[in-house]
């Protein structure tokens, strides 16, 4: 509670500082609108539904692509760790593509899929997939061999060992990889949305883009605040519980 209070105080101070900066008149209000103006934009966009529908469009794209990337990446990472032939082929490919900024997939996706949901889906999956494969592979390779040996003496073998020993033992790495995959997916989706208009739905990236086109700084900043909030919520809702679990079990928390 004390920590939440401190955080609230900190952000309140930020807004006050921002308002003071605005009132000083040092910058044109076109470049630096008051937080109150930004708040009014957010309120109006919420009331007319445009903000909510854009958020839903964006979050849905992100979620679908991310979950698909995970479902594909986790088993593939386990396989590259298990079979050398896959490590030398798919593993190498994943390593290379992981280093590729995922926004680089956008031109290709547009040419392949046109201005469609499929293009967005593809970009998000590409952002997620490779880092999840690499993290899972790396996590498995870091599992102390003694775990699998101990499990063997207790009658575990084959798939059972992979599911109930190797996979949970690799979890700290895998969760770190999931987090990185999420970050990549989120960045590439935003880049794609700002970059192109997708006819089947206007996401937050589009609102950000139009804010620029219309020179509506309160919209640009307002949308950025929403993006920031989504990132924060995703972390708190999806990743924090996992990380708390891992810290408690592995004893890595301070």
């Amino acid at each position: 509670m004390k920590r939440a209070g401190l955080a609230a105080l900190f952000f309140a101070a930020l807004f006050v500082g921002w308002e003071l900066l605005y009132r000083s008149g040092f910058w044109s209000p076109v470049l630096l609108p008051s937080p109150l103006v930004v708040g009014r934009y957010l309120w109006e966009a919420t009331v007319d539904g445009s903000l909510l529908s854009a958020t839903l469009v964006t979050v849905k794209r992100l979620f679908l692509g991310y979950v698909f990337g995970l479902l594909l990446g986790l088993p593939l990472g386990l396989l590259t760790a298990r079979f050398r032939v896959l490590a030398d082929t798919l593993g190498l490919l994943a390593l290379g593509l992981q280093a590729l900024p995922s926004v680089c997939w956008v031109p290709l996706a547009l040419l392949w899929f046109g201005q469609t949901e499929a293009a967005m889906f593809f970009v998000v999956v590409m952002g997620t997939l490779w880092s999840v494969i690499i993290a899972t592979d790396n996590g498995v390779r870091n599992v102390p061999p003694i775990y699998a040996r101990a499990a063997r003496t207790m009658g575990s073998s084959g798939l059972h060992t992979w599911l109930w020993v190797i996979f949970p033992a690799a979890l700290p790495f895998i969760v770190a990889g999931m987090k990185q995959g999420w970050a990549f997916a989120w960045r590439s989706l935003m880049a794609a949305e700002i970059y192109v208009t997708i006819l089947s739905g206007f996401g937050l990236g589009h609102l950000l883009h139009y804010g620029r086109e219309l020179n509506a700084m309160e919209q640009v900043i307002g949308i950025m605040l929403v993006l920031l909030l989504i990132g924060l919520l995703a972390d708190k809702i999806f990743f924090s519980p996992w990380e708390r679990f891992l810290h408690r079990r592995w004893g890595t928390a301070k």
Binding site: R149, T153, M154, G155, P168, A169, L171, R249, G251
Partner: protein
């Protein structure tokens, strides 16, 4: 199956027979002759300690008996049945406790039991609780591994190894990383549990005193290549105190023999 059956001591203790076993490890250019023509019989309910300097193959032999590795030549059998894979009749305790950090204490003890057919989950739980009581950790069912001290970790590992009711316990320097006081407590516990549960135990250590304290028999290994040099029968009454004078006398004799066997090798190496 009831709890009484599952924790019964009637499972006959196995007799281990090792004959003419050799094992080499090759990595790149280097080849280590870990075991050379080793033969050893372990009687039912016997407590045998394998001692020797590092590299003498004592842990290798334990892994072969566990079925975790395979011998290059020779035969190892339990009750006349050749060993070629791990089995629930032979459970292993490692030097590092090798407990699973994603499971709590009870979960760790249950791991092996879950793989054992013919039990309901409630029975498995009862069995696990029985063994946690036996090692004195009944209050720590839901503790996480990192919350335990080194000695407690090894107690959990012991409960985990005992839980599937194996006939043979294979212990690979299980107390090596513990402080002296904790070790002494565990010497008492392991002797008590061995007598209560009537297991056959093969115990690897480089601590001669520990071997003399625990073993009915101490088997002395020498390295390069790993061979059995000498065997000592320890017929002191139990429970034994590691600090007793009688025990020290045995340990001194074994240490002398150990130096005797290792020195000539060292000179050759120089």
């Amino acid at each position: 199956m009831s709890l009484a059956d599952e924790v019964s001591v009637e499972a006959p203790a196995a007799k281990l027979s090792i004959s003419g076993v050799s094992k080499r490890f090759v990595s790149g250019q280097r080849s280590v002759h870990a075991l050379d023509d080793v033969s050893l019989d372990v009687g039912e309910g016997e407590f045998v300690c394998l001692v020797g300097p590092s590299g003498c193959g004592k842990s290798t032999l334990l892994n072969l008996v566990a079925g975790l590795d395979l011998a290059d030549s020779g035969q190892i059998s339990a009750d006349g049945i050749p060993i070629n894979a791990p089995g629930r009749d032979r459970m292993v305790m490692f030097q590092e406790a090798a407990l699973f950090p994603w499971l709590d204490v009870l979960g760790n003890v249950m791991f092996g039991l879950r793989r054992k057919p013919g039990l309901t989950d409630a029975e498995r739980r009862e069995v696990a609780e029985f063994y946690l009581r036996l090692v004195g950790l009944e209050k720590f069912h839901h503790a996480f591994v990192h919350e335990l001290s080194g000695g407690m970790k090894q107690r959990v590992a012991l409960a985990r190894a005992l839980a599937p009711n194996p006939r043979v316990l294979l212990m690979d320097e299980p107390f090596g990383a513990l402080d002296a006081l904790t070790r002494e407590q565990l010497y008492g516990d392991i002797q008590r549990i061995w007598q209560q549960r009537k297991k056959t135990i093969v115990f690897v250590t480089h601590n001669v005193r520990e071997a003399a304290c625990l073993g009915d028999r101490v088997v002395l290994f020498s390295p390069h290549p790993g061979r059995i040099r000498e065997q000592f029968k320890i017929d002191l009454p139990r429970p034994r105190d590691i600090n007793s004078v009688e025990l020290a006398r045995h340990a001194t004799a074994i240490t002398a023999a150990l130096k005797n066997h290792v020195r000539p090798e060292a000179e050759v190496a120089e």
